[in-house]
């Protein structure tokens, strides 16, 4: 049995990778993916925790898993909006380099 801490550590690493990805990547698509990575790191933690509670409580406990479903669903919705936005911006700028989106500043 792999202890729950291992999962949590893995999720933390994944989350960090995701966060760093947001910080350093220039392509919004990749940034989306990094954000997905962050969400999924959370999902991993949820599932792992949920599993651990199940074992401890003796009764099945689905709280963690349910949350994961919500996250997945919402993430999908979010990406849908995000991609639509990117399409729009590509239409006007012919370019989706995030660093060129800096007309608003100051």
């Amino acid at each position: 049995m792999v202890p729950v801490n291992y999962y949590v550590a893995l999720s933390a690493v994944l989350f960090s990778i995701g966060a760093l990805g947001v910080l350093i990547r220039r392509n919004p698509l990749i940034i989306f993916m990094s954000i997905e990575l962050m969400l999924n790191a959370a999902n991993l933690a949820f599932v792992a925790f949920g599993r651990s509670f199940e074992l401890q409580g003796g009764q099945p406990f689905f709280g963690g898993q349910i949350f994961v479903f919500f996250v997945i669903a919402v993430a999908a919705a979010e990406v849908a909006v995000g991609l639509a936005l990117l399409v729009e911006i590509f239409k006007t700028k012919k370019n989706i380099n995030i660093d060129e989106l800096n007309s608003l500043k100051g």
């Binding site: 947001v22 910080l23 350093i24 220039r26 660093d99 989106l101 800096n102």
Partner: protein, 716 residues
């Protein structure tokens, strides 16, 4: 406390009219002055002043009816707060009645004289409209002076004290847009300002003395102060010393003593009646009156008395030396006034209050006489000058030269401005102005202290007192008396004898009756004034009279030695002056015969020992500089501009613009990111690119927050 307010008999209820009468005159002239003729204006003003004189007489009579008992007449409440209670209360006793009589008596005469004098003066200066104003100011002065002498507390006295200062300011600056020679100038107004401010310095001393008095003696009311003083003099003598010395500053300011006398010579810028009334006869003696009034306090502290006497004696001598070197007829008299005031202050300082008051009265007579006669001389010259200039201008016109036939510009056409007050322009006036000449002679003899003129008696009494108690003071005064006789002699010779040194002097004309008749009255008083307090058994009238207020003192008999020495000195001085100025009269343009033998000493005398310059160098200029420095550098550039604009506003802008907006918000966080980036090569390489990407730097900011919060939680 106010038992004596109830009056059983006498005219005490008239006391407020001492003030109201002249004020009524002022108001009438203020309202109707524009419609009145000059004669009406003058009459109204003179009547107003005369009414005050009548009231004074009635009050003095009432006092004598009352056996010299003091009476208080409370008019109204003034300032009552906490333990402070000040009222408008008139105090009528022999001392104040004496002062009232002198002030209103001499004042009324001068009013009458001024009708004639100002009539011409305003015409010479082309300002006929200002005639009424002069009399309003004069009336105001009488009112203020009456408050001064009749007040029942130090603070009411102070009201008059500053009030006369104001009138002095107004009257010195009467011809405010010109100098004494009627040229457009700041000179007269400067002189006025100087007088006011110097007086204020004195008033500062008065105020401080008042504060001390209130907090240590518990009141401003004369009787209460005098009652409380002895106990305090026992327990805390320094308080009384401080009070008297601060009061001395006030005295020095008002009575033109060292070191505050400097305003008085400049005050001659005022029209001559003003010089006579305010700056010789009445206002300047207020200091003497104050010390006399405070006799009960001064007597408690001999050290302070001695200082007062020394100041007076020093002033008497010092001013006398300056008078010797003056050329302006009024300046000589001005310094003479300072000197004579020194005599009085010395007298009251020595505790010879009666002598001081006696000299005050006689001096009022003969100095007013002298000033007014000097005014007559000046106007005489002015008349002569104008008659001559008019004539010359007509001649020019006749020759076809296009010059303005205008009095006002006559002087300018002649190039040199003619000074009718300069004794070097006079000479030989005894023929053209005989009445004035004789009046002047009487005044001079009285001032020089020649028997039996008034000045002889009063001055001698002072000298006698000094010789008995304070030898050094006696000698200072005696020498001052010598100088007095000398400069008066010099003046007589220069003005009335010899040949006329200018056209104006040649054509000088005698003054009209309205001017000379009051002079004759004054002359009579100057001759007979000594009778007030003859030093013989059974006389000493003034001494007895004032004794009701000041406490009876034994009148001293005439000391022939003292009288003899002083008379001898005076005669000697006159003889010397005859040798110098009378035997060989001054020629036009000739320098003063004293200049050569005395050298730099005479230069000092001529230039008033450079005291004004000293004040400028030591006080006025530094103050101006300090004030400008404070205003420009400290207040404006530092407080206003630097602190506000640079420090406060600048910090705002710097913080918002540079520190936060540009630096922290955009670069700072990135810079911090850069610093983080050096941790590893990998981060470093990629972090540098972040500087271009704004969205990512925003995300970095979020991240930074996360890191900080977590760091706090973990490492706290």
């Amino acid at each position: 406390m106010h038992l004596s307010e109830t009056v059983s008999s006498g005219f005490f209820f008239l006391a407020p009219w001492l003030v109201f009468a002249p004020l009524t005159g002022l108001l009438i002239n203020a309202i109707f002055g524009k419609r009145f003729s000059e004669r009406t204006i003058g009459t109204v003003a003179s009547l107003a002043s005369g009414a005050a004189f009548v009231v004074s007489v009635l009050l003095a009579y009432s006092v004598s009816l009352n056996h010299g008992e003091m009476v208080r007449w409370r008019l109204a409440e003034w300032i009552h707060i906490g333990s402070l209670s000040l009222d408008w209360t008139f105090r009528i006793d022999s001392l104040s009645a004496t002062m009232m009589l002198v002030v209103s008596g001499v004042g009324t005469l001068i009013h009458i004289y001024a009708i004639g004098y100002m009539h011409e003066d305003v015409r010479f200066k082309h300002e006929e409209g200002r005639f009424a104003r002069f009399f309003m100011f004069l009336n105001l002065f009488i009112a203020a002076m009456m408050i001064l002498v009749s007040g029942d507390s130090y603070m009411m006295l102070f009201v008059g004290w500053e009030g006369v200062g104001l009138c002095s300011f107004l009257l010195i600056g009467f011809w405010y847009e010109m100098d004494t020679l009627a040229r457009p100038s700041w000179a007269n107004s400067n002189a006025a300002k100087k007088a006011f401010i110097t007086n204020r310095v004195g008033d500062f001393g008065f105020l401080i003395a008042g504060f001390l008095m209130f907090w240590y003696l518990g009141s401003f009311q004369f009787d209460e102060v005098f009652k409380a003083a002895p106990a305090v003099a026992e327990s805390a003598p320094w308080v009384i010393v401080a009070i008297t010395l601060f009061m001395l500053i006030g005295v020095a300011g008002k009575s033109a003593q060292i070191p505050l006398y400097i305003w008085l010579p400049d005050a001659m810028a005022g029209p001559t009646p003003v010089s006579a009334l305010i700056h010789a006869a009445t206002m300047v003696t207020a200091g003497v009156y104050l010390v006399t009034r405070s006799a009960s306090i001064y007597t408690l502290v001999p050290q302070a008395q001695y200082i007062v006497a020394m100041v007076g004696a020093g002033t008497a001598l010092f001013a006398a030396t300056i008078a010797v070197g003056q050329y302006d007829i009024k300046k000589v008299l001005a310094y003479s006034t300072i000197s004579q005031l020194g005599f009085m202050v010395a007298a009251v300082g020595m505790g010879a209050y009666v002598a001081g008051m006696f000299h005050l009265i006689t001096h009022a007579f003969f100095k007013a006489l002298l000033f007014l006669s000097a005014g007559s001389v000046i106007l005489g010259l002015e008349r002569g000058h104008h008659a001559h200039a008019h004539h010359a201008a007509h001649d020019d016109h006749g020759k076809g030269k296009k010059k303005k036939d205008d009095h006002g510009h006559a002087e300018e056409e002649h190039g040199e401005v003619f000074d009718p007050g300069d004794m070097r322009n006079m000479g030989g006036l005894r023929k053209t102005m005989p009445v004035t000449f004789w009046l002047y002679i009487i005044g001079t003899l009285a001032l020089a202290g020649i028997f039996p003129f008034a000045g002889f008696w009063s001055k001698d009494e002072i000298l006698l007192d000094a010789s008995l108690h304070f030898t050094s003071i006696y000698w200072q005064l005696a020498i001052a008396a010598f100088f007095t006789a000398f400069y008066m002699g010099r003046q007589i010779w220069m003005v009335f004898f010899g040949e006329a040194r200018s056209d104006a002097a040649k054509h000088a004309q005698e003054s009209p009756k309205v001017m000379t008749v009051p002079l004759m009255v004054l002359a009579a008083l100057s001759v007979l004034g000594g009778a007030l307090n003859l030093p013989f058994e059974g006389f000493h009238n003034l001494g007895h009279w004032l004794g009701h207020t000041l406490g009876e003192v034994e009148g001293l008999p005439l000391d022939l030695k003292v009288a003899g020495i002083s008379t001898a000195l005076a005669l000697l001085a006159i003889v010397i002056s005859w040798f110098l100025y009378g035997r060989n009269p001054l020629k036009t343009g000739q320098i003063d015969p004293l200049k050569k033998p005395l050298g730099f000493v005479f230069t000092g005398m001529e230039n008033k020992w450079f005291v004004d310059e000293g004040y400028f160098a030591l006080i006025i200029n530094p103050f101006k500089k300090a004030s400008a420095f404070l205003a420009d550098v400290i207040d404006w550039r530092f407080w206003h501009d630097f602190v506000h604009d640079t420090v406060i506003l600048g910090t705002y802008n710097w913080l918002s613009e540079i520190a936060l907006n540009k630096y922290a918000d955009q670069k700072g966080i990135d810079a911090f990111a850069n610093w983080l980036g050096t941790a590893t090569q990998w981060i470093s390489e990629n972090m540098r690119k972040i500087q271009n990407g704004f969205v990512r730097s925003y995300a970095l900011s979020v991240m930074l927050g996360v890191v900080l919060i977590l760091g706090y939680l973990i490492f706290k």
